[in-house]
Symmetry: C2
Subunit: 291 residues, 2 copies
DNA sequence: TACAACGATAAAACAACCTTATCATTTTAT
DNA sequence: ATAAAATGATAAGGTTGTTTTATCGTTGTA
C-alpha cells in the first residue's frame, strides 16, 4: 500500500540538490554518478512522480521541491535516533538503577559512584538501599539493574558475583570488658545481653547460632540499634563494614571462633541482560571492588 | 560513522514484540521466520548491542526496551511522510496557484472552479487576475502554476495551449446607432469617439489598426471604462467574453470585418513541470474548456 | 566547430535479502 | 516421564537490489 522509502536515496536527493548536480553529489557521497541516477529513478517510480526535471540539469520539479524539506526532516530524525542509540551503546548516556544494603550504600558507594561518574560523566545513577532481601527482590523484579548485597539465597533468576568478604564481629561500648580485645570466642558471649539485628542470621548454621536464642531484643533500625549500644543496654554482632565508625564510644571486636563472614557481591539478573549503562557500571564495580 | 537504520528491520522488531514471537510476526508480515532472525541479527550487529535476549523466547533486552518506542516513532514519521507524498501524487491534497485575465477570471472561473472542487474536494486554489502580460509573467516567474490568458507573445519558456476563440466587437450604449446592429465593418467606426482599453491592441496588425490612432482615450480600468460607455462618452472594442453583460444599457455588436479574435488558452511553464495538483487542474481545464 | 560537462543507459559484479531445509532447545500435552 | 509441538538459530541457494564500469546523447561553451 504505502511505498517504503529507504533513507539512502533520500540522502542522495539532498546531496544532489545541495551539491548542485549528480556528478558533484556522487563525488561527495563516494558513489558513482549512475548509482545516483538509478536510485533517484527508483524513488521516482516508487512515488509515481518525478523529483527532478528531465531535461538536462539537476533541477527539482515542484513535487521535488515539496519533497525536499520533508526528506530532510525524516533524515534528521533518522540520524537523531541513530546517534541516540549509539550514544547509549557507547555508554555515553543512559541511567542505572541500583540497590545496595545499607552498609555498602553508605560506606562503599559514595567513593565508588564518585569515581564512576568521573569515567562516565553523562550517566545518571539512582541508588536505593534496603535489606539484602529487599535488594535481591528489586533486582529480581527488574526494578533495578544491579544490586550490591550479600547473598541472600540462591535464586535461579539471579546471578551473584562475590566481590569481598566481610567478617562478623562484636560491637560494644568502649567501657565494656570486650572493648580493646583483639578477638573473641563465641563462648565468651554467653550470658551477655545480645541484641539481634538484621545481620544476626549470618550466625545461623554456625556454632554461635545458640547465642541467638538467648537474645531478648531484635532491632532492625540501625539508628535505634546504635542508640541502644551507646546506652550500654547490650552488645550486638555486625559485619565490620556495617560497624558505624562515626560513633566514638562503640568498639568492634572480631569474632575469631567461629570465623563468620558474609560475602558481599554484585547481584544481577541471570536471564535478562543489562542495559549498556548498567554493563559499564558492572564492569566498573568488578574492577574497583574485586581484586 | 553513524549506522544507517533501514525502516524494514525496525518494523520487524515491532511486529515481533507485538505478535509475541518471530514465527507469529513472520506470519503477520508474510515473511519466513529466518528472514526476521537474520534481519534482527543484522540490526543488532549494526548497533553493537542485542535487542532480544538470546535464550529461548522473544524477549526484549533493556536496550531493546529502550529502542522500541523510538523505532515506533521513526516508523510513524516515515509512514506519515510516505502517506503525505502519495496523497500529493494522487491529487488528494495540495494547492494550485493560478492567474487569469479579468474576463476569464470573472466569467469562466467561477463555474470552472466550482466544478473542479467537486472532483478534487481537498485541493486548494488561489486565483490572481491581471493583464495578459501580468499573467504570463507570473507563470514565467513560477509564482503561479497555471495561467488562463490570451497569448501575449511567444515565450520560449512558456507553453500556450489554445482553448477557445473570443471575437472582438464594438461596445456602445443602447441608444447608439450601432445598438441593435448584427455586425459592423471597421470603416463604420471611423469618426466615432473610440475609447481604447487593455484589449485594444488586439486590433494591431489588422485593417482596423488605423482606428486606434484617432482615439483620444485610453482607459485600463474596467469600471471606469464602463462608466464612460454608460455615460455615452464614446464606444470601445472588447472581446465578447470581456463584455460586461450586467450593464443593461450596454450593447455588444460583433465586428464582422475584419474578424478579429483573441485566442484564450492555458499557459504553463515549458521547461518546468507542474505539481500533481496543478496537473489535475490542467487536465480538468482542457477537458472543460477545450472541445 | 570542437570540446567539456551533464545526466541517462546497459551490462556485469557485488551485496543484500528472502526462502527452503534443518538443527538444538524449550514448552506443552499425554 | 516421555512424546509431540513450538520456539529461534543456522546454512546453503536463489532472487532481488545496488553499485560500478563503460558508453551514449545532449547541452552549453570556447
Amino acid at each position: 500500500m504505502l511505498p517504503e522509502l529507504k533513507i539512502q536515496p533520500l540522502r542522495y536527493v539532498l546531496a544532489i540538490v545541495d551539491e548542485g548536480g549528480f556528478h558533484a553529489a556522487a563525488r561527495h557521497l563516494h558513489r558513482t554518478q549512475p548509482a545516483l541516477s538509478m536510485a533517484v529513478r527508483e524513488l521516482e517510480q516508487r512515488l509515481g512522480e518525478p523529483i527532478f526535471e528531465k531535461g538536462g540539469k539537476a533541477m527539482l520539479t515542484p513535487f521535488g521541491t515539496y519533497c525536499l524539506p520533508r526528506f530532510r526532516e525524516l533524515i534528521i530524525q533518522h540520524d537523531r535516533l541513530s546517534r541516540d542509540l549509539v550514544t547509549q551503546v557507547e555508554k555515553r548516556a543512559g541511567h542505572i538503577d541500583m540497590a545496595a544494603v545499607p552498609s555498602v550504600a553508605s560506606r562503599l558507594m559514595p567513593r565508588l559512584l564518585s569515581n564512576f561518574i568521573q569515567h562516565y560523566p553523562d550517566l545518571k545513577v539512582s541508588l536505593h538501599d534496603g535489606t539484602a532481601d529487599f535488594v535481591s527482590r528489586l533486582v529480581s523484579a527488574g526494578e533495578v539493574d544491579l544490586g550490591l548485597t550479600s547473598l541472600w539465597q540462591v535464586d535461579e533468576e539471579l546471578d551473584f558475583q562475590p566481590l569481598m568478604r566481610d567478617a562478623i564481629g562484636v560491637v560494644c561500648r568502649d567501657d565494656h570488658p570486650f572493648a580493646g580485645r583483639e578477638a573473641l570466642d563465641w563462648q565468651e558471649l554467653q550470658g551477655q545481653a545480645l541484641i539481634r539485628n538484621g545481620t544476626s542470621r549470618l550466625l545461623e548454621g554456625t556454632e554461635a547460632e545458640l547465642l541467638l536464642a538467648q537474645s531478648d531484643f531484635y532491632i532492625s533500625n540501625m539508628i535505634s540499634l546504635t542508640a541502644m549500644l551507646v546506652a550500654g543496654i547490650g552488645i550486638t554482632t555486625l559485619p565490620r563494614l556495617a560497624f558505624p565508625e562515626e560513633y566514638e564510644r562503640l568498639r568492634f571486636v572480631p569474632l575469631a571462633t567461629p570465623h563468620v563472614e558474609r560475602e558481599l557481591g554484585l547481584l544481577k539478573p541471570r536471564r535478562r541482560s543489562l542495559s549498556p549503562a548498567a554493563q559499564a557500571m558492572e564492569a566498573f564495580i568488578i574492577l574497583e571492588l574485586g581484586e
